[in-house]
Subunit: 712 residues, 2 copies
Amino acid sequence: METGVEEAKPGRPLPIARIVAPRSVAVVGASDDVGKFGGRVIHYLQKHGFPGQILPINPNRATIRGLPAFPRVSAAPIAADVAILAVPASSLEVQVADCAAAGVGACIIITGKLAEAGPEGAALQERVLTIARDAGMRLVGPNCLGIFNPVDRAMLSSSLALEEDEYAPGGIGMASQSGALMGTLLSFGRHHGARFSRCISVGNQADLGLEDFLDYLVQDDATRAVGLYIEGLRDPARFRALLRAAGKPVFIVKAGRSEAGAQAARSHTASFAGAFPAFEAICRDAGAVVLDDPQAMVLACDAAIRLAPLPAAGLGLAPIASSGGSTVTFADMLPAAGLRLATMSAATRAALGRWMPDTHIALPVDTGSFHEGTSGDGLSDCIRAFMADPDVGAVVVPMTTQPDMAGRTALFPPLGREGGKPLLYLMTAGAVGDASRAVMRAADFPFYDRMSDAIAVIRALDAAADGRARHDAPAPDRPVGCGPAPALPIGALTEGEAKRLLAAYGIPTTREVAASTADQAIEAARSIGFPVVLKGVSRVVVHKSDLGLVRLNLRDEAAVRTAFDEVMAALERAAPGAAEGCVVQEMARGEAELFLGATCDAQFGPMVLAGAGGVLVEFLQDVRTAPAPLSPHDARALIEGLRVASVLRGLRGRPAADIAAAAGVLARLSWLVADLGPRLAELDINPLILRAAGQGVIAVDARATLTEETKP
Amino acid sequence: METGVEEAKPGRPLPIARIVAPRSVAVVGASDDVGKFGGRVIHYLQKHGFPGQILPINPNRATIRGLPAFPRVSAAPIAADVAILAVPASSLEVQVADCAAAGVGACIIITGKLAEAGPEGAALQERVLTIARDAGMRLVGPNCLGIFNPVDRAMLSSSLALEEDEYAPGGIGMASQSGALMGTLLSFGRHHGARFSRCISVGNQADLGLEDFLDYLVQDDATRAVGLYIEGLRDPARFRALLRAAGKPVFIVKAGRSEAGAQAARSHTASFAGAFPAFEAICRDAGAVVLDDPQAMVLACDAAIRLAPLPAAGLGLAPIASSGGSTVTFADMLPAAGLRLATMSAATRAALGRWMPDTHIALPVDTGSFHEGTSGDGLSDCIRAFMADPDVGAVVVPMTTQPDMAGRTALFPPLGREGGKPLLYLMTAGAVGDASRAVMRAADFPFYDRMSDAIAVIRALDAAADGRARHDAPAPDRPVGCGPAPALPIGALTEGEAKRLLAAYGIPTTREVAASTADQAIEAARSIGFPVVLKGVSRVVVHKSDLGLVRLNLRDEAAVRTAFDEVMAALERAAPGAAEGCVVQEMARGEAELFLGATCDAQFGPMVLAGAGGVLVEFLQDVRTAPAPLSPHDARALIEGLRVASVLRGLRGRPAADIAAAAGVLARLSWLVADLGPRLAELDINPLILRAAGQGVIAVDARATLTEETKP
C-alpha cells in the first residue's frame, strides 16, 4: 500500500484505503459494449492497467473482454473487495443483496434515480443502505461516478474522462459531490500536466460521505493537496476538524454561494451570516481556501504541489516577458483581483540595470527593452534577482509567440525550482504554443493558458499562505472580565437588555436612563449632560430609526420634551400597546462607525461579523465573518480586511480611528457568542462608534434575540 | 477586392486597403533560413498562399525559396506595392531610401530599436519618416509585426503565429499596439474556431497609426467586428468619431487601466477623471466595449459575429446541462460578474414541466432530473422554451464529460441558430473534449474552454447591447435656462463664485449671505432662518471641513457668534492672510447625497462624473464618468449605475430620493462643462443633497477652478 492508512484487517468493514485500491473488483452489468456503463467500467479498468483481479458479472455471458464472466457476484470464486454496480435502479436491491451475501467489502453504486429523484428513490436507497449496514458492507454512492486512483491504477468508474490515454499518478486528491464535474476536471488538469492521487465521486453519500473521504485524503501519503467540490455537508463539525488538522493545502468550491445573497432576511445578522459566509469563514479559519471556479481549484491544487511555495501572503508580483502588451495587460488585471506589483529592492534594480536602460527599469519588465542581443541571459538574471527580492512573492511570465518559443520555454522550470518561489508561466496562444506546453509537461512544470487562470492561481496560493500563517497561531485566550451573561428573558431583548449583555463582556456602551414621562426624560438628560439622544423602547420594533423613534443631538430641555412626546406618539403608532417608554442616552461622537454582529450558525456554531456601520452595512455588503471565539489579533485582521478600513485608518488627513479598541470589542463579542452558543439567535451592535486612536470605542445601539433565557 | 474601400488609384499615396492586400511584396532581408526574420516572412507568404508577386531582396543570392532574388528593391523589375523590412536598424535608412526611390507604395518595418529604445532610435525613425513622406510612401511600424490578412491570403509578417497550418478568413478585424500579443491572440482565437479578416500590428506608428487602421476596418466589408489593443492614442477626437460612426461591434483592451488608480491626485475630480476613466467613458458613449483581458476581447469579437445577437442588455441567463455541479457553479459565478439568472415565464415553466418533476423546475436546469430516457428531446425542448422566453438573454450549456459527448454537442449549433439568441457552449474538459470541439469547429459554432471565458463573453455582449441602444439615442438637447456663464476670475473660485456658475446653468444651490463680522453673520442667519450653516471663505483652502471651517446646524444667535469667531480663527491659521470672511447658508437636509463633478479631459474634452457623496466618494471609488453634454436620460442611467443607487432608491422602506432631479442637475452640469471646455479645469458639487422623490435637490457645497476668466 502506498498510503499511510492502516492495512486492511481481515473482516469488515473494509477501510477506505482498500476501497480506493482494491485487489479485486466485480463489475455488475459487465458488457463488451462500451456504449453501456458496465462495458465502459471494465474497458477502463483494463485500459488503465488495473493490476488486481477483475470479475465480470453477467448472467448471459461466459466471457467478457477475454475474462471469465459469472452470473452473479456470489457465483464468483472469490469475494471481491469492491463491486461496481451500473445496473438499472429496479435491479439494484437484488444485486446489492447478492454482493452482501457474497461477502463483498464495498459497493460502488453508479446507478442513479435514487434519493436525488424523489421519495420512491429515497426509499430504495434506504433499503439498499440497510442491506449493506446489516452485512458490514460499505457503499460509495449511489448516483456517483466512482473512484479514480492513478497511484494504484484503479480506475473504478464509467466516466468518459477515462478515454484519456493515461493518467500518470500525482499528488492531487479530490472528493466531489458531482461526478460529471470531477471527470471533466481530471481531463482539464491532465491537459496542464496536473496529476492526481485519488479522486472520489461521492454521489448521494448513502453510507460513505465527503467527510469520510476527506479524512482518508488528509491521511493519505500520496495526496499532497486536496480539492473538494461540495454541495452540502453531513457533519459540519467533523468537516471543520478535518480541515484544521489537514496539514496539507485544501482548495474548495462550494455550491450555493449565490443563494446566500438572495435570501430574504429579517435583520442584518441573519442576512449576512447565511450558510455560505459561515462556511467560508470556517474554511479560512482552518487554513483552507474557498474558490468560485472549479477549474481554478484544480490549477491551484496543482500549483501548491508543483510550484515552489509562496513565501507569505500579501507579497507583490514580478511580471516579465518579451512583450510589453502581455506584461502590461497582465499588470492591469492585478488590482481588481486584490493583487499588486512588487516594489523592487535596490539590488533588484541594480540587477535589471545591467540589461536595460535606466529609464526602462520598472515592473512589469518587457525584455524587448534589453540591450541588443542580451535577451536570454538578461531574462535569467532578472528572474534570479526577483527570486531574491523580499517583496516579490512570485514571478509571472506571460509569454507571447516569439522565435524559438519552446527553447525559450525550457529556461523557466530550472529558474523556478532554483528560485524557491512560484514562477507562473503563461502560454496564451493556441496550437502554436503546444510545443511549449509539451516542454513544460516534460519538465513536470505547470503552465497556464489564460491570464485569468494565472491570476486565480496566485490568489489561491496567497490565500493558502495566509491560511498557513493563521494555522500556526495559538488558540485565543479569554480576555479578563468576559462574562458570565446576566439573567435575561427569551426572545427579542430591549436595547437596554442587549447593552447589559454587552457590558457583562466588558464592551463599553452609552450611558442611558429610562424615562416614562417627559419630566423623567428631562431629568435624565440633565444627569447625563446635553446634548443627548432619546429613543423609544419596544421589543417588537426592529428598525427604530426608520420609524422616527430615534432623536439625536437634543441640546436643551425643550428639545427633549418635544422629542419625548413625538417619539411616544410614533411608538404607539408603530407598535400599539407595546411601548415600553423611552431611554435617554449620551450623544456619542467619533471618527467612524462599524457594525459588529454575532450569531450562531446552524451548521458551524458561533460566528461574529464586522462591517461598515450605519446604513452602509446594507448596501455595501462589506461584511466579513469569522468563527468565534477569536483573538484580538484575528479580530483586527478581520476589520482591516473590510473595504471601509481605509476610512478607519484616517482618510485625507483625518485622525485614524481606534481600530485596536474595535478589535478588542469584536474579540469580547466572540466570547459572548461562544459562551451562549445556540441560545443567542443574533446580536447586532450598530453602530459601534470609534473615537480617535487610543480613545476607545462605544456601542451606541444594540439588538439581540435569545432562543432561551440566560441565567447568571 | 473584397472590401468596400475604394480601389487603389494610380499613383501615391497607396490606400490602406491596398497596403493590407498588396499585389506585390518585396521582402528586404529575404533568406532561406526561417530562423531569420526575413526568412520567416517569405516562408509565411508562400505557406499561406499569397497570390501576388513576391520579390526577395538579398544582395548575396540569386534565388531564395525558388524565387529570383534582387540585390535591392530598386533593382526589382516592378515597384512593389509593399516592401517588408526586417533588417538591422543600422541599414534601415538606406533600405527605406531605396524603396522610396523605387516607387514602393508602403514599407512595413519590422525592425525595432527605433523610437521605443531612446533618443537615438527616435532620431533615426524621424529620418526614415521624412524619407517616406518626401516620396509619398506610407509606413507601417517600425517595431511592428506586420499585417495578417486571411481574406486575401496576404500574411505580411514574421510572427510565429503563422506556424499554424492555416487561417481561414473570417470577420474579426484587429489593430494592435503590441505585435506579439496580436500574434498570440490570432492563434488563441484559431483554437476556438474564431476567424479573422485583417489584423494589423501598428508598432511605433511613425506614419500610419491605430486610428488610420480603425478607419479602414470600420469601412472594410469583410470586417464584422473590431478588436483593438491600445496603449495610447495619437488623435483622440478622430478615434472617438470613428467609434461613434463604426456601425459594427468594437471591443477594446486599453493598457494603463491600473495606473489611473495609482495616480496621486490633488482633488476628487482629478483623481477620478484620469486618463482611463475618460477613455472608458467615451468608448461606452460611442457604443464600444472596453475589457481588461485580451483573450476575452477575441472571444467577444467572435461571439458578436458567430452567435445570434443578445436581444438587449440586462437580461437573464438560462444555464442547462447534464451536470448539477457545472450548472450550479456557473450560476454561482454570475452575481460577482454583474449577471443574473433569468426569471422563467409561465410558458417556460410549463415546457420544463413536460420533462421533469415540478419540484425540480428551476434555473439552472440539471437534465439529470429529467424523466428517465428523455434527455436529448427534453434538452432541445427546454432550450427552445428559453429562446422564446422574454427574460432570457442567452442560454448557457456548461457541458461535462458524458457518454456520446460529441453527438450531444452537435445538437447545439442548430438550436442556437434557430433560437436567435446567443447559446454559449462550454467544453471545460481537456483532451476528452477535443472531439466535441471539432464538432463545433465543423459546425462553425463557438465554444468556450472556461466558465470564466463564457462569463467574460456574456458581459461583453451585454455591454455591446447596451452600447447599441445608446448609439440609437438622439443627441441631447440643451435644457432651458442653461448658461451663459457669468464673469468669473481665473484660478480657484470661492464657493460663492462656483455656486453663481451653477446657478447660471439652472442648478439649485443653497441660499447664502456673506458676512465679514459676527453681527453680519447673525443678521444673515435671521434672514435665512435657523438652523444655518457657517463656512469660512478662502480661495486657497481646498478641503474646508477637514480644517474645521464648516459649522453645521447652528440653531441660535449665540451658536452663530461662537462659530463665526472660531471659524475666522481657524481660517487665519489655515491660510494666513487669505481669509475672505464667512458665508451663512441655509441648512439643507434630504434623503441622500451625491458627488457630481465636471472636468475637461486632456484627450477627450468635457466630462462629468457622479459618485457616492460626502466622504464616501473617496473610499468607495463608486464613481462613473461620461462625456459632456449628456441627456437627462443618460445622466439618470449613469446615476442608476452607481452602487450607491440602491440607497437613492430607498433602502429598507426609507423614501426614495429625487434621482430624476439629480439627473437633471448632472445634465445641466454637462452643458456647463461642454460650454466652458478647457477653461474649466474642474468643478465639484459635493454634496448634492437629494430630497425625497419629487422634492428636488440642492447643491450644498461647490468648488471650481478656471484656467482663464469667463466673460458673460
